[in-house]
């Protein structure tokens, strides 16, 4: 009797416990504060890159604003004057911009044909053994610090140019030597990007072209190159962007002091935008001087040009991409 009663109580207790448990058991994730903290830290790491960009824009913008409102110059004069003489209060960026364009032009004159040529050779002609030895060599060329290229421009390329064109025609510091060496520096970048673009063109296109009786050269020029055009153009634009932003080669080999020359003379000394920033900030520079602020205005210009080129390159490679299955 008693035991039956107890058994009944036991059963009802278990039943009510189960019911209570069932009411509680809503399937929530267990809170894990450690995991959340880590997640926040990782997000902050990612967001730091946005702060870097904002920092760059803010710093360049703020100091440039100070420069343009200092009374010494204004934005219109900055963009249109062909004189850059800080001592005389003349701040026209055109001479610096001209030298930048000249060195970049010279660099592309070297880097585009040689870079594209070696990319075509590596992707279309070279046996795999040649390719596997040549690609690391190009990587070595890409890994050499730019200051070493600057040394090379000044102590090898300039004497070579002076030997070819005459001591009187070519100054010790000139944009031609800087530009040519810059071209050699950029060559591996263009070559490797262009080669990637060429290699991603499917074999079937080449085989179809051979099947129609085209030679290898005709296949490359009329089938493979057009198919890889977006990647190749993107490579060229990235190359220009790197040439515009390159500093050490021009700082060592292109000369000091701005020089507006029209028509452009590649054999005289001329300071580029980056070269000017490096030279002025390398000296004794006092904060909040007009010179100090002017560097940021040049930097802003440089930032916009390179950002524009990089965005253009991304747009080109997306817009003109041929998609194969």
């Amino acid at each position: 009797m008693q035991t039956q009663l107890e058994a009944g109580r036991e059963i009802s207790r278990v039943q009510s416990a189960v019911a209570a448990r069932r009411a509680q058991a809503t399937l929530y994730k267990r809170p894990r504060p450690g995991e959340d903290a880590i997640r926040v830290y990782l997000l902050l790491c990612g967001i730091l890159s946005i702060f870097t960009t904002l920092g760059i824009i803010f710093v360049l913008g703020e100091e440039s604003l100070r420069f343009f409102t200092s009374g010494v110059t204004n934005a219109v004069e900055f963009l249109t004057s062909i004189k850059w003489q800080p001592q005389a209060g003349e701040f026209g960026i055109l001479p610096l911009l001209e030298s930048t364009l000249m060195t970049s032009f010279m660099a592309m004159l070297v880097a585009i044909p040689l870079g594209l040529g070696s990319a075509i050779y590596l992707a279309e002609y070279a046996p795999s053994r040649v390719r596997s030895t040549m690609k690391p060599i190009l990587e070595v060329l890409a890994g050499i610090p730019t200051v070493v290229y600057g040394y090379f421009a000044l102590t090898f390329m300039t004497p070579a140019l002076r030997g070819i064109f005459g001591q009187d025609a070519v100054q010790i510091y000139n944009t031609a030597a800087a530009g040519i060496v810059m071209g050699i520096m950029i060559l591996p970048t263009i070559s490797s990007m262009a080669e990637d673009a060429l290699s991603s063109v499917p074999r079937s296109l080449r085989e179809a072209s051979y099947g129609l009786g085209a030679t290898r050269f005709e296949t490359i020029v009329k089938v493979v190159l057009p198919a890889a055009l977006s990647g190749i153009l993107a490579a060229f634009i990235i190359g220009i962007s790197r040439a515009v932003g390159e500093t050490m080669i021009v700082a060592l080999a292109a000369g000091a002091g701005s020089n507006w020359s029209f028509p452009p003379n590649f054999f005289v000394a001329a300071e580029t935008m980056t070269g000017h920033i490096a030279r002025i900030s390398g000296g004794d520079l006092s904060y909040d001087s007009v010179d100090y602020n002017s560097l940021f205005a040049i930097g802003l210009m440089l930032f916009f040009i390179t950002l524009g080129l990089n965005l253009l390159s991304q747009w080109v490679s997306k817009r003109f991409r041929e998609v194969y299955q």
């Binding site: 730091l48 610090p145 900030s281 930097g299």
Partner: protein, 453 residues
């Protein structure tokens, strides 16, 4: 039917076809040669670059000593002398200039009043014999002046004083390796000319890259200058760079690969990183100058190793992130799912499964980014790495110089002896980079093996 006939008439046949084919093949082979030639030009440029550096770093040089080193110490090597002996040499040869050395190396007061105030004031904080504290420099005997120098200057400083002030090695004319090999008769003639002005002149074959060059501090005298200070500066800066960029870069990569859902913020982060990778390095220099050197001066102490390291850290951050993302993406998702399946949390999965599998790739990418940072010169110039520093950096808050800065400074000088030591410093830099890259390659190889095995 008629259409196919006219088509056939348009296409050349027979001999005409053979001629056209020959022309087409010829054109192809000419262009094919141009393609291989352009690769050859790139390789020739690399060879020229290396030869050019080697050419300047080794070769004959006409030099002259004020005092032969062998007259100072048997064997002519002052490197083995201690402070006492070095001071004795200074005293023997440059007795009158001892006060000048004290002023230049130790004085903490303005040079104009240096001779009028007692040592306790002019050398405040330096170690020197206490009984001399009340005297001025001019009241000291030569022996006492020597004692002050011996008490407070390091052996290194004393040695470089002896080298510059007593031995006074002068490089009259350095020659490139090519000149040394092929124009020996001209060099001999120039040596005879030099002997007329400088009877001590001599010709020696000189490797500008030598043990002394690696261990000596910077100096304004090219014969005595070395890269130790610059090399240590570079290592310090890279240490700070990696300490900052590695955890942040890998963190951002983990976030983007493992956590980020494709919303607007995460897409923005992703494109932003790609664009940051294309910003010229000199712009990072301007950022570092304005933010780290100026605005955060109370933390970074201005133009210091810390500022430089963080600037370069920001510079290589996008590279590290992109490389790490690729390494993480290459880890097969089956590993993650298996880990979730046995009940691991997200972070446990990342920490115990994903990261170990991706680590070789991440490390390789980081080392490659590091070697980019080692060669970066422009940002360091902009944030104002000091150009002339002879004391070794000892903390992140020290002023510093770095190897590429030193190369830039020496190259920018017109004298050819500075070109020679610039070439030697370039070799040091390239060897350093080679070490980094070799490490990266070994890591990559080992990773491949472990995947296969």
């Amino acid at each position: 039917m008629s259409a196919s006939v006219s088509q056939a008439n348009l296409l050349p046949t027979g001999a005409e076809f053979q001629k056209g084919l020959a022309r087409r093949n010829f054109r192809g082979s000419v262009w094919g040669r141009f393609y291989s030639l352009s690769l050859l030009v790139a390789i020739l440029a690399l060879i020229a670059l290396v030869l050019n550096i080697v050419n300047s770093a080794f070769g004959y040089a006409i030099t002259a000593y004020e005092v032969e080193p062998t007259a100072l110490v048997a064997g002519g090597d002052v490197g083995g002398l201690d402070a006492e002996q070095l001071v004795v040499i200074l005293q023997d040869y440059q007795e009158r200039r001892l006060p000048v050395y004290i002023r230049d190396n130790l004085s903490v007061v303005d040079p104009s009043i240096f001779t009028q105030v007692p040592l306790s004031e002019s050398l405040a904080g330096r170690t020197f014999p206490a009984e001399l504290a009340a005297m001025t420099v001019t009241e000291l005997t030569r022996d006492q002046q020597a004692a002050v120098l011996a008490a407070s200057l390091s052996v290194d400083t004393l040695r470089s004083l002896v080298e510059v002030e007593v031995i006074g090695e002068q490089v009259i004319h350095p020659y490139a390796l090519s000149e040394s090999l092929f124009e020996r008769s001209r060099i001999d003639a120039e040596l005879l000319e030099a002997l007329e002005d400088e009877p001590n002149a001599r010709l020696e074959f000189r490797s500008w890259l030598n043990f002394e060059f690696l261990t000596a501090a910077g100096s304004s005298d090219p014969a005595a200058a070395g890269v130790r200070t610059a090399l240590l500066g570079t290592l310090w800066v890279i240490f700070i760079t990696v300490l900052f960029a590695f955890p942040v870069g890998v963190g951002a990569a983990i976030y983007l690969e493992e956590y980020a859902v494709p919303n607007r913020l995460n897409k923005l982060i992703e494109t932003n990183i790609r664009n940051l990778a294309g910003v010229p390095s000199i712009i990072y220099g301007l950022l570092g100058l304005a933010v780290l050197v100026r605005s955060l001066e109370f933390i970074t102490q201005g133009r210091t190793i810390l500022s430089a390291g963080l600037t370069l850290g920001l510079l290589i951050l996008p590279v590290i992130i992109i490389n790490s993302q690729e390494a993480i993406r290459a880890v097969p998702s089956s590993i993650r799912e298996a880990s979730f399946g046995v009940g691991a949390t997200k972070w446990q999965t990342i920490w115990n499964q994903v990261l170990p599998a991706a680590m070789p790739g991440i490390l390789t990418g980081t080392i490659l980014a590091m070697s980019r940072a080692v060669g970066e010169t422009a940002p360091l110039i902009v944030i104002g790495a000091s150009t002339f520093i002879v004391t070794d950096p000892t903390s992140p808050f020290a002023k510093f110089t770095a190897l590429p800065i030193q190369i830039y400074q020496w190259t920018a000088r017109p004298q050819s002896e500075f070109r020679a030591i610039a070439a030697a410093a370039i070799i040091v830099l390239l060897v350093l980079l080679l070490l980094f890259n070799a490490t990266a390659i070994i890591l990559r190889q080992r990773y491949r093996k472990s995947l296969q095995g």
